[in-house]
């Protein structure tokens, strides 16, 4: 039996990109600021190759208004939900406060988006998920990595239904399709391979990538077709 982490990383994601979402402004207010933050995050993602998990660290952020949350979070998620997304990135919010959550949740609801957050080490699904989909995400989060058959047994549904829920979660990019019909929760994927520090890029934007880690082989495969842009699925 191989190392589960190695097995997972071979097929899942090659990099974890950690971004401190604090700029020269501690307070993330106004749309232009949000656009600048989003551009910097996208620039980091462009510099990587293949699939990655982008961890957006809010620990240094003071105020986050709705306009900025819309520009940073909603527009980022929507862009990477599209079939023509620039790269295969998944997003996780980390260390967001209750206040940040209010602003982020408002924009998620507006656009019917879902987002994985890690609050005090505990994963949570943010956004307007229907109760059954949320229950499916909770189950996947507890199990870490599953295929449809395992999920069906644990959840008390048939395999086709289990597969459909897992694919829906992946369509929203709150679950990682790993290949061979397996899916992994984003926190589980992160837990298996901590990021290693690299040099942050130069530039006026302080919120640069803090860490980027090599993450698995270059021959990573995807499970089936790319998500077909999940907007409007809810």
């Amino acid at each position: 039996m191989g190392d589960p982490a190695t097995d997972m990383t071979r097929e899942v994601a090659r990099t974890v990109v950690r971004t401190s979402v604090a700029t020269f402004y501690n307070n993330l207010v106004t749309r232009p600021t949000g656009q600048a933050v989003r551009s910097a995050i996208e620039a980091q993602l462009r510099s990587g190759r293949g699939r990655c998990v982008s961890v957006l660290d809010f620990s240094q952020v003071g105020v986050l208004d709705f306009s900025c949350a819309d520009e940073v979070i909603a527009k980022l998620l929507m862009k990477y939900l599209r079939a023509d997304r620039p790269s295969d990135a998944f997003f996780v919010v980390q260390d967001a406060s209750e206040h940040h959550r209010d602003s982020i949740d408002t924009v998620l609801r507006r656009h019917k988006l879902l987002l994985v957050a890690v609050e005090s080490g505990r994963p949570a699904l943010w956004g307007p998920a229907p109760s059954r989909l949320r229950a499916a995400w909770d189950r996947l989060d507890r199990m870490g990595r599953v295929d449809a058959s395992q999920f069906a047994s644990a959840h008390g549904v048939n395999e086709a239904t289990a597969g459909s829920w897992l694919r829906r979660l992946a369509d929203f990019r709150v679950a990682l399709p790993e290949g061979h019909g397996s899916f992994s929760s984003l926190p589980a994927a992160l837990a298996r391979r901590p990021a290693e520090p690299l040099q942050p890029p130069a530039g006026p934007y302080r919120a640069a990538a803090e860490q980027t880690a090599p993450y698995g082989s270059d021959t990573a495969g995807l499970d089936g077709q790319p998500p077909a842009g999940a907007r409007g699925v809810l």
Binding site: N27, V29, T30, G62, V63, L64, F66, S97, V107
Partner: protein, 300 residues
């Protein structure tokens, strides 16, 4: 001929309406805003006086005169909140007047012009420590309230930059609202004399409303339905978010634009949620009133 516009003794939201009625009825000429008898001002009223001066100049192309309040206490307060500094850009004065007081202001936010997104950043940065002290110690709000308050401030100020098509002002102050509430309140006033909600939304939405398109329907569309002038579906969340937060805090949130006013009305004040047929005044005038928290049992 000089047109005298009397500034009401109590220059609050009601006083501003009285001033707007005179402003709206005027037919031009040299204007004198007579504020000699002003005894009390609220942030909304005093920012409104600046707006009225700016709107006069915009409407008639002539710089109005201002007779400042005779009350030393009021004049001193106006100096401390930088009123005269901005008034000098809009009004003519007879005689010398000290623009800014050397005394420290105790205002939550002195009158501050909003011209750009950077101004919004500056306001949010500047207000944080004072807001923490005032909201926490004086009004009994929990510590995270200062962040929510800053979001309200940011979003109402951005309304000017994004929609007015001109500059505006913001001010915030806390005071004891004895008559109406018997409690302390914090009041935010944000005003501009730009295109107003009807003007801002017209290009994208007027056709859909047909003959019903008015200041009232424009305000309803933005305030109740989150409609924006931009096609970007992410726009229009600011006012919705403010409504939600102000409601959580049992506060009052009003927007006046053109001939209409719409409000999120708390239980402690009697007011129609929407008014139309008001004297016409350009731009948007926003007021947020957040009351002191009453602990369980009703004690203060």
């Amino acid at each position: 001929m000089t047109v005298v516009l009397p500034v009401p003794e109590t220059l609050d939201a009601r006083g501003f309406e009285a001033l707007v009625a005179s402003w709206s009825a005027a037919e031009g000429g040299r204007a004198l805003f007579d504020a000699r008898h002003v005894r009390w001002v609220s942030p909304y009223g005093i920012v409104g006086l600046l707006a009225a001066g700016a709107a006069w100049q915009e409407r008639f192309g002539e710089r109005p005169l201002l007779e400042p309040p005779e009350s030393k206490e009021v004049a001193s307060y106006l100096s401390r909140i930088h009123f005269f500094e901005h008034a000098h850009e809009l009004f003519g004065f007879e005689g010398h007047l000290r623009r800014r007081s050397a005394a420290e202001s105790d205002a939550l936010l002195e009158i501050t012009p909003i011209r750009s997104h950077q101004d919004v950043h500056d306001v949010v940065d500047r207000v944080r420590d004072r807001a923490a002290a005032i909201l926490g110690r004086r009004l009994g709000y929990p510590p995270p309230a200062v962040l929510h308050f800053s979001v309200i401030l940011s979003e109402v100020c951005q309304n000017i930059v994004e929609h007015a098509g001109t500059d505006g002002w913001v001010s915030a102050q806390t005071y004891n609202w004895k008559q109406r509430l018997g409690r302390q309140v914090v009041v935010i006033a944000v005003m501009d004399v730009g295109m107003g909600f009807r003007g801002s939304l017209a290009r994208e939405h007027a056709q859909r409303y047909g003959d019903r398109w008015s200041d009232e329907t424009a305000l309803e569309a933005a305030f109740l339905h989150g409609v924006s002038r931009y096609r970007d579906p992410g726009r229009g969340q600011g006012l919705q978010g403010i409504r939600k937060q102000v409601t959580r805090w049992n506060g009052l949130f009003t927007i006046r634009s053109g001939t209409a006013r719409i409000a999120e009305v708390p239980d402690w004040i009697e007011r129609d949620p929407i008014n139309s047929g008001l004297p016409d005044f350009p731009g948007a005038q926003i007021q947020v009133v957040l009351p002191q928290v009453v602990p369980p049992g009703g004690g203060e």
